[in-house]
């Protein structure tokens, strides 16, 4: 755990000795339980703090048990809100400047927080009027990120959930034999209980063909399938080059921590792709929605975000096995040298890990 922002992640400007922190308030009576939007908001909070020379971010996550979700998410009701709330909490611990995480379940405490903040004039996100009118615009546009990047030449990076990065390193060494990790997240809303925009789901046949081809060409690579327990087909469990954290009782926090130390990410636009967007991981975000281009201040067909590195690419059409292989090879050329070297000489422990993978539940 680090009390100060991770220097590698934040590249902090000189910070004045000012005691205040930015207060970020997430009130789920009108804001969304959405991994991507919440992760993006963490970057926005970090930018606010840096630009105002503040050292920290305090996060308040508010859920009113009697009105636990926005109108958009009517399936979240008083009897099940805690499951959704509990699932999403690790996101807040990815904020590189986090000082406190306050989970509030009564409106009186939240109201006092809001009005005290407004009275003091200390920085908060979103603006007080947003809370009064209960309207948060989605998706969150990237104009502020692009502007910050243009001014400073970098963006604050999301970190692994606080406390989890060392676990991820140890787990990678002990249980995954330090193999090269390629995190994947082909969207499968049609497998979940709350179907939404299923036309955006990834073509699984292409993905399975891609995974099987890589198993032959690059046996050193281990795919890490992230996402909810319902969001993958059972046949993935049979593949010896796939590790599914949720099938081993791990949670979102573990997935994000593993992603932070992974070599590359490939997936559909989703919460996990948002995490990749704001880290240094090599990534390919596939089949971007054209309508999202305006929020990212890019044009459909653009290969990168303005703040992206050379090994961080976007595609704008439905992926095929060949295209997945092509993008994978492109990302692999950018792998750090030590990883490439390791891939040529798999460690002695990898046989043990291969064996463990083959015995997945």
């Amino acid at each position: 755990m680090t009390l100060q922002p991770n220097k590698e992640d934040v590249q902090a400007n000189p910070v004045a000795a000012k005691p205040a922190a930015v207060l970020g308030i997430f009130d789920f009576s009108y804001q969304h339980y959405a991994l991507g939007d919440l992760l993006t908001s963490q970057v926005e909070l970090a930018i606010m703090a840096i630009e105002q020379n503040l050292e920290h971010v305090d996060v308040v996550a508010m859920v009113n048990p009697r009105l636990p979700a926005a109108a958009f998410q009517r399936h979240i009701v008083p009897d099940n809100y805690l499951t959704y709330f509990d699932n999403i909490l690790p996101v807040f611990a990815c904020n590189p400047m986090l000082r406190s995480l306050q989970l509030v379940r009564d409106i009186e405490t939240l109201s006092l927080m809001l009005l005290s903040r407004r009275k003091s004039g200390d920085p908060m996100w979103p603006a007080p009027f947003t809370h009064i009118k209960m309207r948060q615009d989605y998706p969150i546009g990237y104009h502020r990120f692009n502007a910050f990047h243009a001014r400073h030449g970098y963006l604050p990076q999301l970190c692994a959930p606080r406390h989890y990065q060392d676990w991820a390193r140890g787990f990678h060494e002990r249980e995954l034999a330090a193999r090269s990790l390629a995190v994947i997240n082909p969207r499968q809303s049609s497998l979940t209980s709350n179907l939404a925009a299923t036309y955006r789901d990834a073509p699984l046949e292409s993905w399975h063909g891609f995974i099987d081809t890589v198993a032959v060409r690059r046996p050193d690579v281990l795919f890490v399938m992230v996402g909810g327990y319902r969001e993958w087909e059972h046949s993935l469990l049979r593949r010896s080059n796939v590790f599914i954290p949720r099938a081993f009782g791990l949670s979102l926090a573990h997935e994000l921590a593993l992603m932070k130390i992974a070599d590359l990410f490939m997936g559909t636009p989703s919460g996990f792709s948002a995490f990749a967007t704001f880290t240094n991981i090599a990534y390919a975000i596939l089949n971007m929605e054209h309508r999202f281009a305006e929020y990212g201040e890019i044009s459909p067909g653009d290969r990168r975000y303005p703040f992206a590195h050379a090994n961080q690419v976007l595609t704008w059409h439905r992926e095929t096995t060949d295209e997945l292989l092509s993008v994978f090879e492109e990302l692999c050329t950018h792998l750090r040298p030590n990883r490439a070297a390791k891939s040529d000489n798999p460690s002695a422990g990898s046989a043990h890990a291969d064996d463990a993978m083959a015995r997945q539940p």
Partner: protein, 409 residues
């Protein structure tokens, strides 16, 4: 004086907030809101506890109103404007109510210190603290909820923080849960959670319960006699657990199991080695019994398991789901950790084994096992022979059944 006048007016208007006539009802509601706002937020004229309960319920109801949300976000001019006005008043009324409560209350927010990693004993201690420590404060005997402020120490490898939070959110009498990584953060947040007296006490003494060092006599008592209540059974978790039972172990007498865990929170291989032969032997003698392990297993220890053993976390159940599983399974066997304590608290029959030998836990004077409730066997030590004998005694007492009604048993 002003406070009393406002209270009288409120009492007068309040009865009309559910009037049949919409115009009267709305006017009364707005008046109640406005009066809630102008009422002095704190001071000597604070009424007796509970005097403002109807207004608090009214404000609470409006905050939960989807209709109001539709008004605020609606199209046009009048409805959004009205909605914004009401929201503004609501926020002010609720903030005033909180200020009043803070002025009156003492010991409604507790700072818990976590020095060291979040591990099995510490998570158990959270429930022990909830059931046996904070409720002993005179100001907490009224059954109302309290707020937890968890102060974490600097730990590099501590991947169970969110398990701890998951548990805290399921505790009966816990409302808000805040996690801080330094005392500066608590200082900043204290005015929102603590009364003036609590803040002064915190500044002066840094008084915080250390979750790793709860009084040994309390831990001893809980280890010998168990506990009662404390964990909420979540409605949707119960549904998922029942789905799991029906799909994975139909018609079985299901015994939840928790083993000792390693630092990462996975089942300890040594403990697994202790219990597995006992489960195999038990299943051979009682074919209708199945065991569901609540801990997760490290990938390197995964193998093909016999049909009488399943791992709930590996089949899509979360930490909260598995805690609910412990509450609703037919029985419980294993460590007296958070799962064991939760099962014990709702009188699940079974065999409860101390999380560790020694460590301040005293065996009963005569060295015998104790039954805290019918069919609950509290084993006094982690000795294998004792565990085996207790498990045998427990299984021998199980009702005999031969399957579903249509199986011709």
């Amino acid at each position: 004086m002003i406070g009393r006048t406002v209270d009288r007016l409120l009492a007068l208007v309040e009865r009309h907030t559910k009037h049949r006539n919409r115009a009267v009802r709305r006017t009364a509601q707005l008046t109640v809101l406005a009066l809630s706002v102008v009422r002095p937020p704190e001071g000597a004229q604070t009424p007796a506890d509970g005097a403002h309960e109807p207004q608090a319920q009214f404000v609470d109801r409006l905050f939960a109103s989807t209709r109001l949300r539709d008004y605020v976000r609606g199209r046009g001019f009048v409805r959004p404007l009205l909605g914004l006005g009401v929201r503004t008043l609501l926020l002010q009324a609720a903030a005033n109510a909180k200020s009043r409560k803070l002025a009156q209350s003492d010991r409604r927010a507790f700072v818990l210190r976590v020095n060291g990693p979040v591990e099995q004993a510490l998570m158990r201690n959270l429930l022990v603290w909830h059931n046996h420590v904070f409720s002993t404060y005179p100001s907490c005997s009224d059954g109302r909820c309290v707020d937890l402020m968890i102060l974490l120490a600097q730990e590099e490898n501590d991947a169970r923080l969110f398990d701890l939070i998951s548990i805290a959110l399921m505790l009966d009498r816990v409302r808000n849960v805040a996690v801080f990584w330094d005392e500066e953060g608590i200082e900043a947040a204290a005015p929102m959670f603590m009364s003036g007296a609590e803040q002064a006490r915190w500044r002066e003494t840094r008084d915080a319960e250390d979750l790793r060092r709860l009084p040994a006599e309390i831990i001893d008592e809980v280890t010998r006699r168990g506990t009662s209540g404390g964990i909420k059974l979540l409605v949707d978790s119960r549904g998922r657990v029942q789905d799991f039972f029906k799909a994975a172990l139909p018609e079985k007498f299901i015994i939840a199991v928790s083993l000792r865990e390693d630092r990462d929170g996975a089942a300890d291989p040594g403990d697994l080695g202790l219990w597995l032969p006992l489960f195999d032997a038990a299943a051979a003698r009682h074919p209708n019994v199945a065991f569901v392990v609540l801990n997760r297993l490290a990938p390197s220890h995964w193998r093909v398991w016999p049909s009488h053993i399943r791992f709930a976390r590996h089949q899509g159940l979360s930490m909260q789901d598995t805690l609910c599983l412990a509450l609703v399974a037919d029985g419980y066997v294993g460590a007296l950790d958070i799962f064991g304590l939760a099962a014990n608290a709702v009188a699940r029959p079974g065999v409860y084994v101390p999380l560790m030998d020694g460590g301040g836990q005293r065996a009963p004077p005569d060295g015998s096992e104790q039954d805290s409730a019918p069919a609950q066997i509290m084993v006094a030590s982690r000795d294998r022979a004792r565990i085996e004998a207790a498990l045998g005694r427990f299984l021998a007492g199980l009702p005999r059944f031969s399957g579903g009604a249509l199986r011709g048993g």
